[in-house]
Symmetry: D2
Subunit: 278 residues, 4 copies
C-alpha cells in the first residue's frame, strides 16, 4: 500500500518549505519522502510529499491554503489505482503491454475499457476480459465519431485516457473535455519527425538513433508537454520496417513509464513543460 501524497504548486516565496512542513508537523504527520523544485523562469514552487499518520486531509488542505500565496494548488492523493480507458487502433504492442501489467497488478490503474476505431485488437482485449468498444469512423463525420467515443467514455468516467497508438488526430473540442488527462505515445523522438510516418522520415534522413515520446495531449498536435522519451540505436541496414519493429520496444516502455509517473502523482504541469519527481 502506497502512502498518501501531498501535492502543492504555488508562487515561490521565502519560508514556504518551513511553513508547509510546519502544518504537517503540528498535525502529527511524518514525512516519508519529500521533493521540491522551484522553476526559476516563472518563480513557481512545486512540492511532492509522501506522508504518514492520519486522514485529516480536508483540515490540512484548509490550513495550507490559509498560509500559501494566491494561485496555489493543494491536492492530496491516496495513490489508489487510477481508472483509465485505453484508446488504440491496430498495433498491439503498447496495448498488450498495458493489459499484461494490468492483469498482474503492476500498472497502478484499472483498465475500464478499450476503445478502438478498428476491430483487429478485439481478440487481444478479450483475452484479458476487458470491455472492447469498436467505434468505426467510416461513413461518419469526425464530429459524429468523436461524439460516439465521448459517449462511450462517459459510461466509464475515466481519470485518464491512454492513447496506445491511437492513430486518429483528436479535435481540440475532444481534448478540451480531458485537460491534462490524455497521454499519448508518439513513435518518434519529438520534436524530430512530428506528424505522419515518423519511421519513414527517420529512414530517409538516415538518423542513427530513433525514439519515442510520451506526452500530454493538447490541442497542438505533437506539441503537448513531454513526460518521457526513450531511444534505441539503428544503422543504415535498417529498413523502415526494421525501424518500426525496433521502435516498438521503446514505445511500449516509454508509454508505460509515463503512465507510471502520472499514476504515482509524480508529474506537475509547468507551462509547456513538466516537472517530474522521480
Amino acid at each position: 500500500m502506497k502512502p498518501p501524497v501531498l501535492l502543492i504548486d504555488c508562487p515561490d516565496r521565502k519560508g514556504l518549505i518551513h511553513d508547509i512542513t510546519g502544518v504537517l508537523f503540528r498535525n502529527n504527520h511524518n514525512i516519508i519522502s519529500n521533493s521540491e523544485y522551484v522553476d526559476h523562469e516563472t518563480s513557481h514552487f512545486f512540492m511532492r510529499t509522501e506522508i504518514s499518520g492520519g486522514n485529516d486531509f480536508e483540515l490540512l488542505r484548509d490550513e495550507l491554503y490559509a498560509l500559501l500565496p494566491n494561485g496555489s494548488n493543494v491536492r492530496f492523493s491516496n495513490q489508489s489505482p487510477k481508472n483509465i480507458v485505453i484508446m488504440a487502433t491496430k498495433e498491439h504492442h503498447c496495448l498488450g503491454d498495458l493489459l499484461l501489467r494490468h492483469a498482474h497488478h503492476t500498472l497502478n490503474a484499472s483498465i475500464l475499457a478499450v476503445i478502438s476505431n478498428h476491430e483487429v485488437l478485439k481478440p487481444l482485449v478479450k483475452r484479458f476480459d476487458i470491455p472492447f468498444h469498436y467505434i468505426p469512423f467510416e461513413d461518419v463525420t469526425k464530429e459524429e465519431h468523436e461524439a460516439a467515443v465521448i459517449s462511450a467514455l462517459k459510461k466509464y468516467d475515466p481519470q485518464y485516457i491512454a492513447l496506445a497508438k491511437y492513430m486518429r488526430v483528436l479535435s481540440s473540442q475532444f481534448i478540451s473535455n480531458y485537460p491534462g488527462r490524455i497521454i499519448n505515445i508518439h513513435h518518434s523522438f519529438l520534436p524530430a519527425f512530428a506528424g505522419a510516418s515518423p519511421y519513414r522520415q527517420a529512414f530517409e534522413r538516415g538518423v542513427k538513433i530513433i525514439g519515442a515520446t510520451a506526452h500530454f495531449v493538447t490541442e497542438h498536435l505533437d506539441e503537448g508537454p513531454i513526460i518521457a522519451q526513450g531511444v534505441t540505436p539503428v544503422d543504415h541496414s535498417y529498413s523502415v520496417n526494421d525501424m518500426v519493429l525496433a521502435g516498438r520496444d521503446v514505445e511500449r516502455t516509454v508509454l508505460a513509464k509515463a503512465l507510471r509517473l502520472v499514476f504515482e502523482e509524480r508529474v506537475f504541469l509547468c507551462g509547456k513543460r513538466v516537472v517530474i519527481f522521480e
Copy 2:
C-alpha cells in the same frame, strides 16, 4: 600498422562478391575482414575489404574495373593518417579533445592547422604546437572572409576539414570546394532543433533527452548525411546552461567517433544517407 583496404561501390548484380574476391584470390591477396551491403532502395552494392599481400593496387584496380558494371567506384587506401584542418570558433571542448587525441596518436590524422574566427582558442592550440590562424570576419564581407579561409586551407591541402563547433554558416560556394570532405558537429539530435540555439529550443520544448549529430556538410544547412549521433538524458531541473554543459561530452564523443569512422575508410555516401562498416 593497419592493413590496406579496398573500397568498392557499384550497381548490384549477381555474382559480384564472387568476381571481386576472385580478383583478390588470383592476385594472391588474403582477405582479413570483409563487409558488404546492398541498398535495396537503389540496388547499389557497397564493399569494404581489408587485405594483405602485395602493393599491386594499380593492377588490381584495372582488373576490377574491367569486370564491374558501369558506374562503379574502386578505391584503395593504405589507411595512413589523414591530413586535416580543424575550424572552430570559441568553444574548446571538441577542439581540445581532438588536439589531445592527436598529441597521443589516437586520432588517425595529422592536424595541420586550426582556423578560427576568434582568438580565444589560440592559447589552447599553442599548447599543442599546432599552427593557429585567426581569420576575423568583422569588417569584411562573407565572401572576403571565406576567401581568406580558403587561402589558408590551400596552404595545407587537407584531405578533410573538421568543424569543431565552428559557428559560422559556410556558403555553398565554399562547401563545393570540399565535397564529402567537411564534417560538422551539430549540438542537437538532428533533425530536432536544427538551426540556432538548439539547447534553448530543447529547454523550451521540455525534452527528456538531448543529443549531438556529426554529419557531412552539404549546401543544405544541417541536412547533410548523418555519420554519428549520441544522446544523454536531461530533466526539468536542467537550465539551458546545464544542457549546454551536459551536451559537451556528447558532442566531442560523437565528433571523434565520426572522424574515426571516416578516417578508417568505413563511411560510404549513399544518397542523403551513409553506409557505415563498423
Copy 3:
C-alpha cells in the same frame, strides 16, 4: 516470407569467400545479404548468407562440403518459425511478453507449451490458449523433477527452450540433452552478481546501472555464452524492489532480443563466446 539462409563455419583459409560464392553463383543463387567474420584468435571463419533462387539445398551442401576444409559446418535454414517450449516459475513479465509476441506473430516461433514449477502463471498462459504444464518439485528429488520435465518436453520436441525467469538450477544431465538450445535470461549484468538475488546484491553494492543478460545455458551456471545484454540506470533512492521493477523492462527486452537473434539464425557459437550477424 524470409529468404533461406546459408550458415557456414569452418577453419579459415585463403579464397573461402570466393569458393563459397562460386558455388552459389554456378547454381544460380543470388545473394541478398552476406556477412562474414574471422575469429583471429582461433582462425575460424563464419558466414551467414541470405539467398534467393531454388531449393536445391542438398546439392549445394554437398558441393560446399567438397571444397571446404575439414571441420566445416554447413547448414541451410528456410527461416520458418522455430518450435519452442518456455519454462518459467512465478514472474509474468518475460513470459507474458513472449506470449504477446507469439499471439501477434512477431516472435518468429511457435510456443508449443509452457512448463512451470508453480501454478501462478497458469491463468496467464490460458489466456493465450497455450498448454500449461505444472510440474511441482516439492516431495520429489531433483532427478525425478527433471525427468518429469524432460518427459513433458519430449511430447513437444522443441527446437529451443526459453527459460523466461525459470528459477531452478538445471542439472548438467538435463542440459546435455539440449546443447546450444536452451536460452536463459539472468537478472543481472553478468558476470556481475552471478548467483542468487542479484538485485539485492546490486542494491548493497550501490551500483548506478543494473542490467540483464540472455545467454545459452551450459553446465556452468551463469557462465554460458552471452547473446544479449541490456542496462538501465538506477540511483540511491531505488530500493531492492524498485530495482526489481526497473529490471523487468530490461529483462524482457533482452530475452526477446536474444531469441530473435537465435531464431533468425544470426548466432554462431565460438568457444565461450558467440558471433552474431545482426
Copy 4:
C-alpha cells in the same frame, strides 16, 4: 558564482525539515534549491540546500547542532573550486581530459600538481603548465614509494586526490590519510571484472556491454562506494584493444562526472553506498 550550500546528515526524526528550514528562515536565508533523502535501511536523513543571504555560517551551524539529534553532521560550503592533485601512470585520456577542463575553468577545481610513477605523461602535463612529479617505484619498497608520494602531496595539501588511471594499488596505510578524499576510475563495470586486465576478462567472457566505474577509494580494493558508472556496447568483433579504446571515452566521462558531483558537494557517504543529489 555558485551559491553557498548547507549539508546535513543525521539520524531521522519527525519534524527535521521544518526545524532546519526554520533556522534558515529566521536567519533570513532564502532556499534556492533543496533536496532531502531518508535512507530507510538505516533511518538516516540527508539534506543538501543551496541558500542565499549572508555569511553567518558559524552562527547557523551552532543553531543547527543545538536542535539536531546526536550524531549529526552539519557543514557549509561556499562551493569555491577544490584544490586537487591528480595521480596517473601512463594513459593520457583521463588526465588529459581533466587538464583540458581545468584550463578552461569547467572542472570546478584547481589542479595543483600531477604525480606519476612513470615519465611518459610529463610532456602532456607540461603543456598545461602544471607541476609534474615523477616518483618512480623501481628499486624502492612500496612503503618508501608511498612515503615519497605522501611527501609530495603534503606540499600541496589537496582536498581531493583523483586517480586518473593510476595503476598501482595503494596501501591501507596510504588511504587512511585521505578518508573519503581519493576518487578512482576503474576500467570496468564493477563489480564485474574487478582486479587486473578487466578488458581482457570482458573479452574472454564475451560481454556485450563494457563500462567504467568511479568510486571512493577505501582499503578494500575495487570495493569503495560507487559514485558514477557508464557503459558502451561492444560485440564479438571487438578485440581486447578495441575494447580498451572504446572504454576510454567512458572512463574519462565517468571520472569527470564523479569529480563534478563531489566538487559540487552533491555526494554523501552512506555506509558502503553514496547518496547523490543531482
